[in-house]
């Protein structure tokens, strides 16, 4: 069955948010994907999830199923269709899809949007072009072979031409072609080119509507006080003072929902404006039952998990014989690395608007995963999912935080209780203190070198509270997916062992931009640098040797990794940085290379130090992410990732005392600012391989490269982050 159909004359187009009229193609992308749920694979029924509509005025509407959060996905995906279709970029309109399984997987996470949708998008564009060409050929009564398409027109060899819009009426009656020809990649006009973002103007004039900007008639504003300790509950509360605040309408208790994405619960203040809600919240008097997590002290916890990695752990991987390698070693190197919790802190705090009416509910929210939000809301209201509409607004940053719809459930709970539309707004303090934190980790690495400086044995033993603990309370060891990025290191080492230590969770643990690659990328890259020093070799030469000969590594993943591509990005990054050439006095380089989200990234950083403070001057990043779709988006993502990586290297640290998070705002959870930025130089490897992740893989390389550069410059090795703890920034 053809996964793409002409549905111009079908009645259900309205249900996907398109006005009827025009030429409408629909595609079932699950045919192309390696991951979509099995029910979508049932090809006897046509369940399209991707739609494109060409109207007679020439406008081309595309439904974007993925969320825009600064990742440029609305632009990238649209450009693929527009290019294959030979459409005019200025005629493209992107419409955001509501959260619904009919759009296929909408979770904008794991850097995979482009990977899954690239092929179906191309195919749809190519089909539309072919149909328009045959419509023109019919009109002119000429063979299709005499017609070509260009920039929203079909041209005939005689020189006459006709606009796409004028062909719609004929094209919409045509069957989709069974055979199509794709454009030659060298003729791409948009794919792989620098392209203006479809939303840039709205972002620059203040008209873009983020979740926080949604307004409904008679909408109330709410803020909520949650227990300082994760999963603590309300014992009693006094709302008198809060109710006295001008503008406060009501104060209600919201119970915790003990689900991964359920609300933490607390006391909600409903008001006629945000500020009154915030003030009312501050005026609340609440007595808490702090619960089991009140003992959490992150400093003590670090000591405890560090002890756990200094003794035998559970085996996650065991190849060859590490002990024998260690026994026969010429040299042994061992180090322990400690990294703290991090918070996402997207510029736009969690927020959502909900309006519950009877058994139906409509939501407007900045969410990375509208389908999961829909499911949570339907569960909460005990109503069927088709009674719940999730409208996706722009996201003021996500980084993983906004794929967890606890804040959406809160808005729904409050709207239901007060029987009115309401917007819940987290304060920045709420965001920092009640997040889904990036894990805290301790990692012990030990390796043996032979006389020639080759690594003969490698042990990585680490402990970190697992993301799995958020889904299965009680999980107290790292999970399989957290082990694999330590186990699949692309190093050619005969004897390798990975062990994990006990590490229970006392706060909600969640994924944050590049996830487990932050600790693993850090320890592997710093340790490799230490080994190079121990072997008396240049870090670049040592690293290339450690990766070893060109080979495709067999893993369970659908996409295999290729050590030649890994070495290539490293060679290019060092070449761009002029690695090995003299630098200005007092400057030094550090390098780092990491494979994640199926992409290969290397970074070289150039630093100097004055008065014991690190200054990063240049970052040379090279990424190989397969066929590129929008080069400028990739470049922007690498630039942003360098800053994100620097923020965590310099300042990123969330700590807990007596179960409560100690940081509160950007004042004590600091970010890199304009005066600290380096020049970021980005090279994107030309490739025809499958497109792979871009949003995340640029992050993990930055911190270790900086630490390696500091060592080069000062001879001092720093094992823990952030660097502000050492007074280095």
């Amino acid at each position: 069955m053809n996964p793409i159909k002409n549905i111009s004359r079908r009645t259900f187009v309205k249900s996907v948010g398109l006005a009827s009229g025009g030429l409408i193609l629909a595609c079932n992308t699950s045919v192309f994907s390696d991951k979509e749920k099995d029910e979508n694979k049932d090809l006897t029924n046509f369940n399209p999830n991707l739609f494109v509509q060409l109207n007679s005025d020439g406008s081309l509407i595309l439904i974007a199923s993925r969320s825009e959060m600064g990742n440029g996905v609305r632009t990238s995906l649209t450009s693929v269709i527009a290019d294959e279709m030979d459409a005019d970029w200025t005629k493209v309109i992107v419409q955001q899809a509501v959260g619904d399984a009919k759009y296929g997987d909408q979770n904008t996470d794991g850097s995979r949007s482009v990977r899954y949708l690239y092929e179906p998008m191309r195919k749809m564009g190519a089909m539309a072009r072919a149909m328009l060409i045959s419509a023109a050929a019919q009109t002119w009564k000429v063979p299709v072979t005499e017609c070509t398409a260009e920039n929203h027109f079909v041209l005939h060899s005689s020189g006459k031409k006709i606009a796409y819009g004028d062909l719609v009426e004929i094209a919409k009656n045509l069957e989709v072609p069974t055979e199509i020809t794709y454009k030659n990649p060298k003729d791409f006009k948009y794919i792989g080119k620098k392209l203006r973002g479809v939303d840039t103007e709205e972002y620059s004039n203040g008209s873009a509507i983020f979740g926080l900007d949604k307004r409904l008639p008679n909408m109330k504003f709410a803020a909520m006080q949650r227990c300082p300790v994760t999963f603590g509950t309300v014992k009693s509360f006094d709302k008198t003072a809060a109710l006295k605040v001008a503008g406060v309408i009501d104060v209600i208790e919201i119970l915790r929902i003990a689900k991964p994405f359920g609300t933490l619960g607390g006391i909600a203040v409903i008001a006629s404006n945000t500020w009154a809600a915030f003030k009312g919240k501050d005026a609340l008097k609440i007595e808490w039952d702090l619960g089991d997590n009140a003992s959490y002290d992150s400093e003590k916890y670090m000591k405890q998990i560090t002890e756990n990695v200094h003794k035998q752990g559970k085996v996650g991987k065991d190849v060859g014989n590490v002990n024998k390698a260690f026994k026969n070693a010429h040299k042994i190197v061992e180090s322990t690395y400690q990294l703290p919790h991090l918070a996402h802190a997207p510029m736009e705090v969690p927020n959502a608007v909900a309006w519950v009416q009877g058994d139906s509910c409509e939501v407007w929210a900045p969410t990375q995963d509208p389908q999961s939000a829909r499911k949570e809301v339907a569960d909460y209201l005990e109503t069927p999912e088709d009674k719940v509409t999730i409208n996706v607004t722009f996201l003021g940053g996500g980084f993983g935080r906004k794929s967890k719809p606890d804040y959406v459930v809160e808005a729904v709970a409050i709207s239901k209780a007060i029987n009115a539309p309401v917007q819940i707004v987290w304060t920045r303090e709420d965001d920092i203190k009640h997040g889904y934190y990036h894990t805290v980790s301790s990692q012990y690495l030990k390796a043996s070198l032979d006389k020639q400086g080759n690594v003969t044995g490698w042990l990585n033993r680490f402990a970190l509270p697992s993301i799995a603990s958020t889904f299965s309370p009680g999980v107290d060891y790292p999970a399989g997916f957290e082990i694999s990025s330590a186990a699949n290191v692309p190093f050619d080492i005969k004897n390798m062992k990975v062990e994990v230590g006990q590490s229970p969770a006392y706060v909600r643990i969640g994924w944050l931009r590049s996830v487990i690659n932050i600790p693993h990328g850090f320890s592997q890259n710093v340790f490799a640098d230490e080994l190079a020093v121990a072997a008396g070799k240049d870090p670049l030469e040592f690293r290339l040797n450690l990766i070893g000969k060109d080979r495709i590594e067999e893993t369970e993943d659908p996409i295999k990794y290729n050590t030649a591509r890994l070495k290539n990005v490293l060679k290019l990054a060092t070449k761009n940085a002029n690695w090995g050439k003299p630098l200005p006095e007092g400057h030094a380089y550090g390098l780092s290379v990491h494979y994640s989200f199926y992409s290969y990234v290397a970074s070289v950083v150039e630093i100097s130090m004055a008065f014991n403070k690190v200054k990063v001057h240049n970052v040379y990043t090279v990424i190989d992410c397969g066929q590129t779709v929008n080069k400028d988006t990739i470049k922007a993502q690498m630039e942003g990732a360098a800053i994100f990586g620097m923020s965590l290297a310099f300042y990123g640290k969330i700590t807990a005392k007596n179960g409560a998070i100690e940081q509160s705002n950007y004042s004590d959870y600091k970010m890199i600012r304009m005066n600290e930025i380096p020049k970021v130089h980005v090279e994107i490897v030309e490739s025809t391989e499958i497109p792979t992740g871009v949003g995340e893989p640029g992050v993990p390389v930055i911190a270790p490269a900086i630490v390696n550069a500091i060592f080069k410059l000062t001879g001092k090795r720093y094992y823990n982050l952030p660097l502000s703890d050492y007074g280095l920034v």
Binding site: Y203, P346, F394, R428, A636, G640, I643
Partner: protein
Amino acid sequence: MITLQINGEKHKIDVAPEMPLLWAIRDIVGLTGTKYGCGIGVCGSCKVLLDNSPVQSCMIPVSAAEGKNVITIEGVSKNLQLLQESWTALNVPQCGFCQPGQLIAATALLDKISEPTDEEINEAMIGNICRCGTYQRIKNAIHRTVELKKQG
């Protein structure tokens, strides 16, 4: 009753005088381009021009803005408009959320210094956080605007 003059238009609003200007603009007047990011004056998302000076609207009470001229991102100013063009041309925004505040800070800078150096840009923009890390493009877009103005 407090009378605010925002982007040349007068708004009579009935709010507590200590309500921060930010919330009066967003929730009472209904202009949502000005953003909440921290509420304590450290992120710059809420910047507006108050009689041509950049201020964090989360930090000043609405009463302090009375009788003054408030310009928000929705407003019109020569430099703002030129900067917006550069922002688009260089694809500055990622998530876009911080950009109204960045543009207001940059406008105030160019209103004061027609050809700022990198250091002067740093100083003017240091109060504005961009979690997406678009700083380099912001800097380039400011330089580009200056260049275009020089060429007339």
